[in-house]
Amino acid sequence: MDWQALILTLKLAAATTTILLAVAVPLGALLALGRGRWLAVLEAVTALPLVLPPTVLGFFLLVLLGPKTAFGRAIVSVLGHPLAFSFAGLVVGSVIYSLPFAVQPISAGFAAVNPALVDAARLLGAGPARIVGTVLVPLARRSLVIAAVLSFLHTVGEFGVVLMLGGDIPGATRTLSIVLYDQVESFDYATAARTAAVLLAMSVAALAAIYASGAARSARAGSTLND
């Protein structure tokens, strides 16, 4: 078992999930409560990683973050090194790649909150941040749990973006999926089976925990919980 890769994968998934929750909560609120045609564009952009091949996304990010673009050069001048082929670069790629897995459950959870409660909060002087923090998040907390678990698992299992953007650098960008690929490529099927079993067990355990807690069922029935 490649423990270094396992720890790196868990670190990447934890960092990605934390950032995604911070981004997806305001974005989900905007999509659930906002008005205007531009929201459809925002929704489409948010959902793009669902349909875009991971290698294509990884390639675009590799070019964007590389030293040949102004954006990439700006990052090098700030960080002192390019984002590509670094752990930070992997985090950026993972956040973009897993964005719909965080935004969509949260947005659906917020949309299921009784709109009369949002109206009541607005009448009582609450601004958008307070409405999100004191009304939407507590009432849609199960959707947040689902979003966090899905984002975490999706990051743990990602391959194409990681390979394109991070390569295969031990201790920096080599995650469990890359290790599994390397093991299969070198015909070490016994070790590959153990690595695959760890990835499978993590996914099954997390999903079982969600269903056992009833979060998935409650999130689907969210609208009846907050009348």
Binding site: A120, R122, L123, G125
Partner: protein, 246 residues
Amino acid sequence: MIECSLNLRHGGFYLHIEARFAAEWTVLFGPSGAGKSTLLRLLAGLDRTGAGQADTARILLDGRDISGLKPGRRGIGMVAQQPALFPHLSVSANVAFGLHGLNQPTRSKRVEEMLALVGAESLLNRRVQHLSGGEAQRIALARALAPMPRLLLLDEPFSALDGTASDVLLERLQPWLRERNVQVIQATHDATDAFLTGAEVVLLHEGKRAAQGPAVEVLLAERERLERSLRTAERPAWNQSSSEAH
């Protein structure tokens, strides 16, 4: 005093109201779909205008233009038929929700005062899920009044209270509102609400102000109109056409 000029087109419904509400208690009366709730929501700022070219809203509260203000900055409280209490908060936290800027002792005192006003002191620490429909409407009223609004909008607010409880609540409420100069606009289907509160009645019909005046005058005129239209409707079609022909 509220002065408003409102134009709203929404699907097949068109609301056009230019009115001045100067009475201490105004009752909006009219059939379902007359525009009562829409009018209240526009006054509160909950439904924005501007979606269509003809949509406009100009609202003056005591001469101050509040049309462009957010709902929470208009000095307006509102209680709808659905109490919409925050289910994850206690009764006291619900009532205190609009008192964000006050310090803790003042907030607690205000919450107790409001609950006493609506006769719900014993519910202070109850969970919202354990309230009856009538209790929830009382708490929603206390919550709307807690920030001391200048105008209180009531949309069928006492529908879950029985007649006696509603009367007792109104008896407590009216002197308190009068003392604090809080104006009330209430939408209702129940004509007795207008008589109980001594309100001025605004009769709405298909999104327009059909009549405005003392309750007795407006409601009696409306009753006569309805009776006349019923008598006409009861006549068979062949009879109507033959009498028209002669």
